[in-house]
Symmetry: C2
Subunit: 152 residues, 2 copies
DNA sequence: ATTATTATTGATAACAATTATCAGGTAGGA
DNA sequence: TCCTACCTGATAATTGTTATCAATAATAAT
């Protein structure tokens, strides 16, 4: 069984436990989330689900994602006015590296975060519940595409 | 001369250099930004400016902040759907610690970030231009206010 | 100081992502 | 199979922010 199949089953199980009904649209949305590597937007999920269920409404996608957020099964990455991106495979906070040109988002390996977090608790007395760490830059691909001499 | 006076003069000077006109409303907005410690929202800046200039429009506040962002003189902290908060005193990216109860934002001291950033460049080949690091939690004050036995 | 130019202001309309509403449909238990 | 509550789909409402535009006022030139 592939990773994304396992992840899909896990999400379906979580929903069942909460007494949610398992509809075909819901499975399709969970499916897209479990199989995508690239932190899709709602719009992107919507487009993919519509291939299978052409009558699907955008509202349905939003409602399901909202439910998954409450269940802690999806991580939302909001970016100001731009539409949010979602991670259905690693729902716990982790660092992201975002290309500001092509909007690609990748998960770098960084484990020095825990130390920082512990340091903060000592310093401030906060009870830390979550965090968000994003690095913005230009990926190797997009650096190559830049015209010579072009700045930015 | 106080710190915030110096900061105010710096911002006015930056504006002049860009050929911007120095209006009373503009000075008032810069004044609020330079003197506030608590990362104000647009709404909060608006309220403060209106005390001095009651006819001020919200649009004017937005336009001035937008201009300051372009000049690199103010740091915007967006939080999804909630309204953004602004730092006019430390416009370069730095970590924040946010109380999810009272919405207070403080600037903790953390300098291990540079190492992480350098590590990322090596690993991924990205050209990193900026970053964002936020910790969410409950501040000592709000921990005290929680009712005994109350969770979350 | 007066005038001309043009950025800025203030009021409001427009916008875009997300959320709420609600009638009709359907999953899942009796 | 039938019931009932949840879910879907279509669309209206919401909210923070941006665009529009006529009137105003800051600056440079006279």
């Amino acid at each position: 069984m592939t990773d994304h199949k396992i992840r899909l089953e896990t999400m379906i199980q979580k929903m069942r436990e909460k007494g949610c009904r398992i509809t075909p649209q819901r499975i399709a949305i969970l499916g897209v989330l479990s199989k995508s590597e690239g932190h899709p937007s709602v719009e992107s999920i919507y487009e993919q689900v519509k291939e299978e269920f052409p009558t699907t409404s955008l509202a349905t996608v939003y409602k399901n994602i909202s439910m998954l957020k409450e269940l802690g099964e999806v991580l939302e990455l909001g970016f100001g006015t731009e539409s949010s991106r979602y991670d259905g495979n690693k729902p716990d906070p982790h660092p992201h590296l975002i290309c500001t040109v092509c909007k690609k988002i990748i998960d770098p390996d960084l484990d020095s975060l825990k130390d920082i977090s512990a340091e903060l608790v000592d310093e401030t007395g906060f009870k830390i519940t979550s965090h968000r760490l994003d690095f913005f830059g230009i990926c190797p691909d997009c650096q190559g595409k830049q015209l010579p001499g072009e700045q930015k």
